[in-house]
Symmetry: C2
Subunit: 490 residues, 2 copies
């Protein structure tokens, strides 16, 4: 393979087989060492791959590209649609952006898939039978990154949960379960508190679940769910959950398994998919030739399944399991093999199967989730009936209420004012602590439908009244059902 | 004590000591049984308390009060300012609201404090030396409960983090550490993603931390932090964290300790405080007289410290530890003692101390956190320079951009459009999946300061242009620093 700094070069193979082009990046720290080991194993297993190498990571960041990826590298990802990525180092400070987040979001990699299992008695663990796959929604939730400072005291981040986002991740989780012979999918949300957003995720789980009657299904509130995973991970199988919970849960699962250094991951999109180990670039041991290549290797196994090479994936995975059973171990597992010796131990066992650990057997790629959300939907009948106007105001609520009552006009009624969600007008409690950030709910008289022009006129009167409004949220009925929560105490 | 359904009656004591009035509720399920046991122990230890009983929970919900608490009960909480609460049952469905959330928010109980420790070898656990106190912010974050459905596809929940909210909880955590001889406070946030909101929490932790140089301090990202707590809880001491993370973390800590049935909690406000076990009302064993009263008893111990009776708290806590060492155990701990027998076992050891478990020694109440946020702050210089207008639009971005360019006017420039936070105009990537929810950023020309009237006029033009705006967020500089995040890819 030939590569240059700036342009990816397609590898020309002398084999007569049709090769599958994939993009690779050697990354930083131990990245180049483990990638070299993984490629040796892939070659020995005759994985029909043609590699395009791109430059990402620390050197690219340091060259002044704040995204950590050269613009021309996107072309390779678009062409091959498959990316095997070694860990990179993101420099601290200086406005460098997370390359993973950028790739996930611009390439639409909506599913983060993390299988975590243990290999007792060959790898020490407190949970010898655990075997969990976390399917984390990867694009939305609080990670949309939309934040606003609104007042002297109050900062806001938007949590966005969308129906297509829920549908695709939930469907992916069920399809994964079917394709991999899994028995149960657990959904975790906090919908006892967030009834609209997390409530949607839970509802979509139940809706789509009806299509997968062969799979056992359950829902848990995330707090008790996470606690149960931490204590009894062997009770879980596939878990599907929104982005933030999934981020935390993935780390908890890997940590309690004790196999952070061995765990692979996939980031799946409609068009592009990225595969990588979950561990970092480990600069402290870089260049010593002692890093464990297993996380990246098992990611490559997931990749082979994805590109339609389940036999090759099975062959490599079983050789790796056989090597683990034979005691092949790098320093992190208490052994003394070098990265390269470990790769040799796997290569020597190609064609073998494990004796005691469950044998890997991949038979098909994951059925591509049907993107039901692309089917034109019948739009809801949306009716605006009011507006929440958020105000920056220092002082008591009564003065604010009086100012707003004076400008509400004939069409709107000031229904309530809340502070951090707690109703403080009318009839608040003196113990409620108030910040300088007030949500003022105006409803149309008799909940008559209103037009944008009326909302704009109301905002105009509020501004004229000298009230510092800082944001607004329309209040709508969707097919007659309120699209907004009540105030606490309302 | 005399009590009636409807009116709390002040207990008249015949003792010459001044009694401290507290409010109690017997709750549902096992609540009355464990409360009776706890009160017998408190009486035997001569705790100088006068009880007012209020009615909360299932019967109140069923009587048609959706908050689960009778209006007149608030008067008792206001009077005594101290509440010892047995677990209650919230009926499923029917719009019943969480009583805990209502009490926390209306009474301003900003700190949820959960000490969790293990009692090896007397109570089985995987973590014999763990001893963690989770100090969870209790009022804000996503739990403000402000949710809006914005389009056919998109639902939103607001995450609000405030400076006073951060200051009081962080200060409380440090004061707790000092008062209880703790050595370290760990702060956990996700500020690598949520730089404004979680960034504020982290920054306030560092600011206030400078006043507590005697306490070791560290910050961890919540995903790896939660994972480390699950695997190595013995490495942690006091942990302070925003509401959602704290909710999950509290459950993880209690579960990995294996002492959910024994763990107490406190909800602390400036004026009122509530103490309760973390376990539920356990209706399956209600009325059998076999429930473990330890969680409520240790909550009462926290309460005694809070009301300025540390000697009495110490006496009861040590008697309880001595009873545990002696093998006193209800069914949940593998023993055969009834609730009442267990209480007798504690009472019989009043005056004793544990032989092996660390002795309890309370010397003072927690110094009331100084509410620095009440000190009038110098307001920042706030300058509006633009507005994010969120639009409900089905179709491509170019048509939307053209509509908006046509109405931007001379004062504003359409700077970008994002979908779920990812920049899709100008120069989006074709792989980015788009919902029907678009954030359109208008900046003033040359970032000149703008007035509310200009924002209103812009919204008016957008409405006239036939664009369905659904929310707005002003873009401000605070003392010259941008109070808003950039778009992903911007």
């Amino acid at each position: 393979m030939v590569s240059t700094e700036n342009s990816p070069i397609r590898t020309i193979s002398d084999s007569s087989r049709t090769l599958i082009p994939i993009t690779i990046a050697n990354g930083d720290g131990v990245g180049p060492e483990i990638m070299a080991a993984v490629r040796r194993i892939l070659d020995a297993a005759e994985a029909p791959l043609a590699y395009e190498e791109i430059q990402i990571g620390e050197r690219v960041y340091r060259s002044g590209i704040s995204s950590g990826i050269r613009p021309e590298a996107w072309g390779s990802l678009r062409r091959t649609k498959v990316f095997l990525k070694a860990p990179i180092t993101t420099p601290q400070g200086g406005g460098f952006k997370s390359l993973n987040v950028t790739i996930r979001k611009t390439m639409g990699l909506y599913a983060n898939v993390r299988p975590v299992r243990t290999y007792a008695p060959y790898v020490e663990t407190l949970h010898p039978t655990m075997d969990i796959v976390v399917v984390r929604e990867n694009e939305e939730d609080l990670y949309a990154g939309i934040e606003h400072r609104q007042t002297d005291e109050v900062f806001q981040c938007l949590k966005l949960i969308t129906r297509p986002g829920c549908e695709r991740i939930v469907r992916y989780a069920f399809e994964y379960a079917v394709a991999n012979g899994r028995k149960k999918v657990t959904c975790m949300t906090k919908d006892n508190i967030m009834k609209l957003t997390d409530g949607l995720f839970h509802r979509v789980f139940e809706e789509i679940g009806t299509e997968y009657q062969q799979i056992q299904q359950e829902h848990m509130i995330i707090d008790i769910g996470m606690a149960r995973v931490a204590k009894y991970p062997e009770r879980f199988d596939v878990i599907v959950t929104p982005n933030l919970y999934g981020d935390i849960l993935s780390d908890v699962v890997a940590e309690v398994a004790g196999t952070v250094g061995l765990a692979p991951s996939a980031n799946i999109g409609d068009q592009v998919a990225m595969f990588e180990a979950i561990h970092g670039s480990a600069p402290d041991i870089a260049g010593k030739g002692i890093a464990n290549p297993s996380g990246l290797l098992l990611s490559a196994v997931m990749m082979l399944v994805h590109v339609g090479e389940p036999e090759c994936a099975t062959r490599i995975h079983n050789a790796w399991l056989a090597a683990i059973e034979a005691g092949a171990a790098t320093a992190d597992l208490g052994g003394s093999l070098s990265t390269s010796d470990f790769a040799d131990a796997v290569i020597a066992r190609l064609g073998e199967a494990p004796q005691n650990l469950p044998e890997a057997k991949y038979t098909k790629r994951i059925t591509k989730p049907v993107p039901t959300f692309r089917i034109p939907r019948v739009a809801s009948e949306k009716t605006m009936i009011g507006i929440d106007v958020f105000v920056h105001h220092w002082g008591g609520v009564d003065g604010l209420a009086n100012s707003l009552l004076a400008v509400a006009g004939d069409e709107f009624e000031l229904q309530m004012i809340t502070n951090r969600g707690v109703k403080v007008w009318p009839m608040g409690m003196p113990e409620t602590f108030c910040t300088d950030h007030w949500r003022c709910r105006f409803m149309s008289m008799d909940e008559r439908p209103v037009q944008h022009a009326q909302l704009v006129a109301l905002l105009g009167r509020i501004a004229e009244g000298g009230v510092d409004f800082i944001k607004s949220e329309n209040l709508c009925l969707f097919d007659g059902a309120p699209g907004f929560s009540l105030g606490q105490g309302q």
